[in-house]
Amino acid sequence: MEPKSCSGDGNPSRNLHPSKPLMAANFLRCLSRIQQTATNSSVGSRSRRIRRAAYASMAYSAGHRRAWSWALLRKLRCRRVRPVILPRRPRIARPQVVIEIDRAEVLRKLVPGGTGMDYCRLLEETADYIRCLATQVRLMQTVTDSISS
């Protein structure tokens, strides 16, 4: 089922990530928890928590099937009640001597987990990461718009 577009222009966005409803649910749950527990915090610290929640809910929605989400989850070290066994991904042996400049060096640093994969995989992961990020941004924009209206 095509996820409903919240872009407001009525066109179903082709680059919405398929797990958008799940992402929305995760993010809202985090938001309401932050709102309840951080009422006396500064705007800055709450903002950092919200940001962290955004990346966490993105990564949770993508699950372990993606290298970038797995790397993000490891980085965020989310501790959930449900025990999760992360499969060890086989690390690709990198060449010992690096002579040429990796053309995708900058991209590898931007995509979570990008440093450990080959070029082809990196491109795949990048596309999925971009779709997911764009969906998360749209989701946050929708939430922001609806609160402030």
Partner: protein
């Protein structure tokens, strides 16, 4: 078909397991596959109105991709800050009601 720049031949050994007939590497990843992935990336960027609409070189697509990812990261930061301010001002229940209402519509 994406136009490749001249440094590609030098960097192909490092950047991936590109399979050409002269190389003895795994052979599973073909140039066609990489071109297809590049096209997919480029179309994603087009939809986001980033970059040129002509066939761009691989390096340009990578560059545009990087700047697009950076701008998305910035948007997440900005929206997080905005949300933080809004949650401060709004009461608990009215914010939640507004969110739920917007998602159900």
């Amino acid at each position: 078909m994406i136009a490749q720049n001249s440094s590609d031949t030098n960097s192909q050994k490092m950047s991936g397991r590109r399979s050409r007939s002269r190389q003895s590497s795994s052979g599973r990843i073909t140039d066609q596959q990489i071109d297809d992935l590049m096209s997919k990336l480029q179309s994603l960027l087009h939809e986001a109105r980033v970059g040129s609409h002509d066939r761009a070189s691989a390096a340009k697509v990578l560059q545009d991709t990087c700047s697009y990812i950076r701008s998305l990261h910035r948007e997440v930061d900005d929206l997080s800050e905005r949300l933080s301010e809004l949650l401060d001002a709004e009461g608990v229940s009215s914010a939640q009601a507004a969110i739920i209402r917007s998602l159900l519509m």
